[in-house]
Symmetry: C2
DNA sequence: ATTCACCTGCGACAAATTGTCGCGCGGCAA
DNA sequence: TTGCCGCGCGACAATTTGTCGCAGGTGAAT
């Protein structure tokens, strides 16, 4: 139930219907902040389609400038920008408008980072790579954040490994060689592992 | 810090009445919550020595009872107790006294769990195993702007696995067969892996 | 005492996964 | 163009798993 993903044939109607309700007023404003232009380009239309009025910023500074004039209702901030600016921005956004729902992204599932972000005002955390639906889910999730499935994570070792690999891989922009080195494993092995799991294998 | 160099190295069983000592300086009250008695026993004297007035609880319920009458200034809560009680307790403690500094522990480096705990009021997060100094450091750390080491964690896959195994193993009280099943790996393999690394966890 | 249900360690051997080498290709900067 | 680096992939040896099975131990129920 967690990740329903849009198995919906047409995400369009769903969204449009949803939006139909608040459509009369105006779309929700969303600020995307990431220094990776490709990422912005990829996400922007997707979020538009989902009913957000999207602004883009490729640095914490410009994001702050934008936000100062018109604090967005939602924000997606990549922590992995030059410097700690990502975290700083989170705090700035939060203080500009405490109501802003901020989702933080990082290529790495660094607990400390995530925790820090939350303390500073982020409302949710996601590890890259993410897709638009996950982000939307994160925004919506907030309402009833009661039951949290925790602990009891006998996570099959194999999967643990896979996720770890994915993260590090993402962190290295998909560079297999670099990832292998970083993980201290042989390129060939990583290669083979990646080949095995084309995509799926969820839980 | 500020170690009171009082000669009482002995572990006072009745931690509550430290008044007998009548130090003009009041010790900070600390509540340790973990269902692992050994853990409590190990940590209690250590924290005492570091100048805390320690109370113990081996369940979220009893912890709550204790806290109701006398909300502690500091708390260490193991999230990994039966049920979601750990998280619930965090929230309870926070609402009893917003000023309570709560450090949350988990055997698992689960990002989501940590994040959730923070949202509910914890002020810091640590992964087991920890030592007393780390906890104290966590307490002292101000929530303000800390330098956060981003990413930087290309954790060798092999170690990731090892730690994971150790956790799950601990979770099953060292039962190899059960752990193997839980991890979805063969007993023989686990056995061999464990044999390889002679020195178990440290720190 | 005996049976049962489980755990533990360990030997052995086949099956599967890794470690290594090396080749050819394709970008990219000097 | 040359050199550096990354990518995919074949091949083969070195290791590591998956499986079986056996012997021994423990605790509870019979």
């Amino acid at each position: 139930m967690t990740s329903l993903k849009t198995k919906n044939t047409a995400k369009n109607d769903t969204v449009e219907n949803d939006m139909a309700e608040n459509n009369m007023t105006e779309k929700a404003t969303l600020l995307l902040v990431d220094d990776d232009q490709d990422f912005l380009n990829a996400l922007q239309p997707a979020m538009c389609k989902r009913g957000f009025l999207v602004s883009l910023a490729n640095s914490a500074e410009s994001a702050f400038e934008l936000a100062k004039n018109d604090p967005p209702e939602f924000a997606v901030v990549d922590l992995k920008m030059s410097g700690n600016s990502g975290l700083v921005l989170v705090r700035q956004l939060a203080s500009l408008n405490a109501g802003t729902r901020i989702v933080v992204l990082t290529g790495f599932a660094s607990v400390t980072t995530a925790v820090e972000a939350i303390k500073l005002g982020a409302t949710h955390y996601l590890a890259k790579p993410v897709d638009a639906d996950e982000i939307v889910a994160a925004f919506e999730k907030q309402t009833g954040d009661d039951e949290v499935e925790l602990a009891s994570n006998p996570l099959p070792i194999e999967r643990l490994e896979w996720e770890h690999i994915q993260r590090v891989l993402a962190e290295h922009d998909g560079n297999i060689s670099a990832t292998a080195r970083s993980l201290n494993m042989h390129r060939r092995t990583l290669q083979r592992k990646l080949n095995k799991h084309p995509s799926s294998y969820t839980k």
